[in-house]
Symmetry: C2
Subunit: 338 residues, 2 copies
């Protein structure tokens, strides 16, 4: 049997239990060209929240009601009807919030994974799409340079925490914004960034002003009020990369842009979207650089792990309400190397 | 005697009469290094509205209360104590809303003007900072290419109308947004652009969707609701150049950014400020290209002229409330060639 979460209604806020149902069905063998994967882990990613709504303008269409909820899996191929994959391969891709996903390898972005990593879960975090997105955003979109001041929001999150380490590794002064004193201590302690601001009990605009220097590059994951606090503290000619706008993902109508939008003109800022698939489509491969940092011990992740397919909504809620430090994932079954 | 407008209070909305006073004083001879200019024309520019407020974050500091209101003049040097200028020179620069301005040539950006133009007023519009800004924004900031769809807001304004003609001349499909049917008719008729939308009686978002094709480059002069109507109609990887945000200039607190700010991410847009002085500082000279278009009859201006220093506030109000087509200026005294 395969167990999966089905999207039955458009959720309001974070009431996911009212909209998603855990369903069981017989597993069919993969059709010609398809691959059946048994999941060890599921990745919880904020972006999928946008696809739950009926907004027409996400970068992917809304998930049709009555169909499986979409998300990333990490698991082993159980059965392959595609020449590029064999039973037993360890793979990552886009499938369902499910114990098993049957996918078209191209549509799923199915990727065979190295098993010689210290922790297989890192293929979801620092070595996975979070790591790829952080490196893509900092280097190919924001073009950070040594000596610059780089600000990262949701800095203790899966993508933000990698962005902090990459920027630090490239000689930047790095400031992180996060939502608890514990996260801030983790950022300045374990990750070694220069300063961290707890937006829940500190005035972000005032703290940025106190830290001084002007922000050359801002890696934005949040939007909303936070962006407004940052804008007047940008350096002249500063760059802002919009990787995510999680503050608005539960809204059906969109989140108002920053009140200080005029700063784009006044400070001659450049604002761009960070969208990894565009760079992958151009053939960019971020794995070698991330892997080299990882092997050198310069890319640390942390995990917020929940166990069991039945607890997926709990894990997703932790992510969306910012209770995690590091990568949020759900363990579906124990991993064992071949 | 010199007559000038003094800023005595921070205006509310468009009630300029309550904040500005026409004052007369004796003319002093210019100090060493200065130049005394007698104005023929004053230019009315939306940007100066920002300097009237006490907001600290304009690109120039607020004009101190009790001092002359700042603006561009076009006139003749009456007396020069600077080796680079002589009495009789026709010049343009930043001085005061005044019959006479005594200026430091560098601070004022004082520029000697050709007199061999069909209409001397064109040195304020199509050949002046409006023309320079339009060319800078389209070419050096937005990087427009032949075949692209270019959208211009405040298209019948002094800068917008030049932007329309430059984009058309470079082989783009050009759509303009303006505030009356007469302006729209002028844009598609005299200026020959492809389509014009009257935002006062048409639904801009629906019209843009009907015209189709996606907007590759948007030359933005307005902001506010208009930007929200445009964002979902941008092409993937579209560029937006923020030249002005006139919708917010009367606000002391700033105008909220677009609700559809998420489109920056979803459509992977690039948004940048257009700020001409940066490019002038780098040595860019836009005059030769503008002059060549002008001499070839491919750069038409229109004027909204008011006569008399005592009527400056009327002219400025016309500009700020969008009652003009083309360049708004005030004639201070008749021009005669030397």
């Amino acid at each position: 049997m395969r167990h999966f979460w089905r999207l039955d209604a458009r959720p309001k806020g974070h009431d996911y239990a009212a909209s998603l149902t855990l369903v069981s069905e017989e597993i069919s063998p993969p059709a010609e060209g398809e691959v059946l994967v048994e999941a060890h882990y599921l990745s919880m990613d904020p972006g999928v929240r946008v696809w739950m709504t009926a907004r027409e303008d996400g970068y992917s269409p809304a998930i049709p009601l009555g169909t499986p909820m979409v998300g990333q899996f990490l698991g082993r191929v159980l059965e392959s009807a595609h020449p590029g994959f064999s039973a037993g391969d360890l793979v990552r891709g886009f499938g369902h919030w499910a114990t098993h996903s049957t996918v078209d390898p191209v549509a799923a972005g199915l990727t065979r994974l190295d098993e010689d990593v210290a922790d297989i879960r890192d293929h979801f975090g620092v070595l996975g799409l979070n790591g790829w997105t952080a490196l893509c955003g900092l280097v190919d979109v924001l073009g950070i340079k040594s000596g610059e001041t780089v600000l990262v929001s949701a800095a203790a999150g899966a993508t933000g925490s990698v962005a902090c380490q990459i920027a630090k590794g490239r000689g930047c002064r790095v400031i992180g914004i996060a939502g608890s004193d514990a996260k801030c201590a983790w950022l300045t302690g374990k990750l070694g960034i220069d300063a961290a601001i707890n937006y829940k009990n500190q005035n972000v605009a005032a703290e940025l002003e106190r830290l001084g220097g002007g922000i050359d590059a801002y890696f934005e994951n949040v939007g909303g009020d936070l962006l407004d606090a940052v804008l007047p503290n940008m350096a002249l000619y500063g760059r802002i990369g919009i990787c995510g706008l999680i503050a608005g993902y539960t809204s059906d109508t969109g989140l108002p842009g920053p009140v200080r939008f005029d700063q784009i003109l006044m400070k001659r800022l450049t604002i761009k979207g960070i969208f990894l698939p565009d760079f992958i489509a151009e053939g960019r491969d971020y794995y070698p650089e991330l892997r080299a940092m990882y092997d050198a011990g310069k890319l640390a992740g942390d995990f917020d792990e929940t166990v069991g397919i039945e607890n997926v909504l709990k894990a997703f809620t932790r992510l969306m309400t910012g209770r995690n430090t590091g990568k949020v994932l759900v363990k579906i079954r124990d991993f064992s190397s071949r």
